[in-house]
Symmetry: C2
Subunit: 187 residues, 2 copies
């Protein structure tokens, strides 16, 4: 019988396997074993392997979009918005450290129309982020630089957090990262 909890368990197990081995290298038999089922029984809960990947990617994309929506609507300065966004990326990497790798790396195995749906959500998010950076530059809060290069560097810079071992110290790590990006490492 198809229960929502079971589907959720499948998504969680899949995110972990995709993270450890990658989407392509994870078989439906691997996944079935992880949730104590036979491969064929998975299809009572999900439509296809790709649907699992799609669900995981969209969940993450939607969460990023939602948080961006909140941040954009505040009256905070551009630099405070950027701080909030960097912290968001770190937060996501800590709390959702399995599924974030699907969002970051495995989405490219999606086919149409999921692929376009995902990339356009991501594009929108990055566009909003870019505008905040441009605002920061024009308001003289940020140095003058190519906003796209700035954005790319920020987005990449937290892409190790999900497999950082000492999770307990992540609060401190977040501060260090924000400080690095805002003020640099040089004294």
């Amino acid at each position: 019988m198809a229960s929502i909890q079971k589907k959720e368990a499948i998504l969680v197990a899949a995110a972990k396997l995709f993270r450890d081995r990658g989407y392509q290298a994870t078989s439906m038999r691997d996944l079935a074993e992880a949730v104590d089922l036979k491969a064929s029984s998975l299809y009572n809960h999900i439509g296809s392997k790709e649907e699992i990947l799609s669900d995981i990617c969209m969940q993450n994309a939607d969460r990023f979009s939602a948080e961006m929506g909140i941040i954009v609507q505040t009256t905070n300065s551009p630099i405070d918005k950027i701080k909030a966004l960097i912290n968001l990326h770190i937060e996501m990497a800590i709390t959702d450290y399995t599924s974030i790798t699907s969002f970051n790396d495995e989405w490219r195995h999606l086919s149409e129309p999921s692929l376009s749906e995902f990339t356009s959500k991501r594009k929108l998010y990055e566009q909003q982020f870019l505008e905040i950076i441009e605002e920061g530059i024009s308001q003289d809060q940020l140095k003058y630089m190519d906003p796209q290069i700035c954005l790319n560097t920020i987005l990449s810079s937290t892409r190790w957090v999900y497999d950082y071992k000492p999770k307990a110290e992540m609060g401190e790590a977040a501060n260090t990262i924000v400080n690095m990006l805002l003020h640099g490492i040089s004294k």
Copy 2:
């Protein structure tokens, strides 16, 4: 007939396919087609699919190690060594923008003993990088911060350069990235 040029052509084509689709999603038939051969003929030039991945990863690892060796031996200050290393990562991402993704992401599909050989090379490289950062902190050239977090952030921060479109402007991009990491984005 097995020629060295043909093997090199196979490695180049493989790096491109691994970059575009990932290692697991690239079949030997895809690769064969890319070099105008039948799949079985590939085996006159290479031992196995994994050997191709291993060769690509090791080539990159060895180049990073060699450059690190040169940088370490200079009498430059820690901060100048770090600048040189950031530029090295950008340089590699530009000149070798296909194979760098194998080095970054696909190496995990290696099996033993290649896997250990690769990870220990990488570990050594990161250890040397870490020592330069620690030296920079103790010489008061860098702010006091967790050196491992600093290293991870630096290493991640250039991991978008390989698919940056305007290759012509990469020189400027490199300066922007170095500047961001050393002095931050805040004014």
